[in-house]
Amino acid sequence: MKKLRPFIFIVTFLVWQGCAGTPPVPENKPLISLGKANVQAVFEENEGLEVLPEDAKELRDFYRGGVQQKAKAEKEFREKAYPEAMELYRSSNEFFQTLIQYIDEDAAAYNLFEGTDILFFPNLLTADNHLKIGLICQTMGRDWRAKYNWKRALSLVKKSLRTERTEWGLALEQELLSLLASKQK
């Protein structure tokens, strides 16, 4: 037992450090309603001239491209064209991943230029993509893969909620928690 003490100390220290590194979701931030920040509003802000991966040059292009691919993915998902939807969700996430390397905070009012703000939710949108990818995996019987995607989604939702408390994010968090809980039974 004496020999184990240093290891126990190190493990305890690492666990404590890990907990310290994950700040809780601040409760005092104002809650942004679903009416203001929602996926449909994001789609509307980014419709129009399409951004192809080869044409994405600026960070704004990567956000716009990611949103446009997601809008297409949602349509396929609703029509149960799962392989097509999966490909589009992945393509959408590729756009967002490039963006998140540079700007990784969500914002309900991201200022583009004087007098123009946009809904900027790369983390939440990526999380939603992972949620849907997980659901598709579940229908294909790939439970392990579904769980993996939902876990990733949950960590992104938490990240989003730390910077912007949205009803949209909280609803997504609840959905993911219940999906993960159902898999643990």
Binding site: N46, G48, L49, L52, F113, E114
Partner: protein, 186 residues
């Protein structure tokens, strides 16, 4: 023995010479690539149809993008508060005078400012190109506008071919090359 040393020396000189030439060529290539990357005129991998829109001009007349079909259109998004927009404005006057008769249409789309603000600005800075009012910013959103000034060049078939983010010299060689290219197409 001496002959052999001479041969080795020659070989070494040849190798060093080749390395120098290769290095110079490589540097030239890198320079060419970086100057291409620095170009303000971004092309599109696959030209796409310009989103259609209708906007009012300063006289209240509604202008539709389709009205210009068959012409080369330069859409320039600007605002009076934007210093770079103010700076490039003069080159549009020159461009308009030079190419209007050759079917180049310049539309300067103002983002979210009132007619009064624009008229006040134009009193001091007169421009000959038409100004359209994007009061809600909807047209800017359709094009994915995120900075001022931003310009789009639309070809005769209504396809967006180039995008320029930031201030450009519209009477510079690069702009003229692109405009000549588009005007030369059917």
């Amino acid at each position: 023995m001496r002959e052999k040393i001479g041969q080795v020396r020659q070989l070494l000189i040849a190798l060093v010479g080749a390395a120098i030439i290769w290095g110079i060529q490589g540097a030239g290539l890198v320079q060419a690539q970086s100057s291409a990357e620095q170009s303000l005129f971004h092309t599109y991998a696959k030209p796409m149809v310009a989103p259609d829109f209708s906007l009012g001009n300063l006289d209240g007349k509604i202008v539709n993008l389709k009205d210009y079909r068959g012409k080369v259109i330069l859409l320039n998004f600007w605002a009076t508060w934007c210093p770079n927009c103010r700076q490039e404005a003069h080159s549009f006057n020159t461009l308009q005078a030079q190419f209007h008769s050759q079917a180049l249409e310049i539309c300067r789309i103002n983002t979210k400012e009132s007619r009064e603000t624009i008229l006040k600005y134009l009193e001091k800075n007169p421009i000959s190109t038409p100004v359209l009012l994007d009061k809600t910013g909807k047209v800017g959103r359709l094009f994915g506008l995120w900075a001022h000034p931003t310009s789009y060049l639309v070809d005769r078939r209504g396809m967006v071919r180039y995008r320029v983010v930031g201030q450009a010299d519209w009477v510079g060689w690069e702009a003229l090359r692109v405009i000549h290219l588009l005007l030369g197409e059917k």
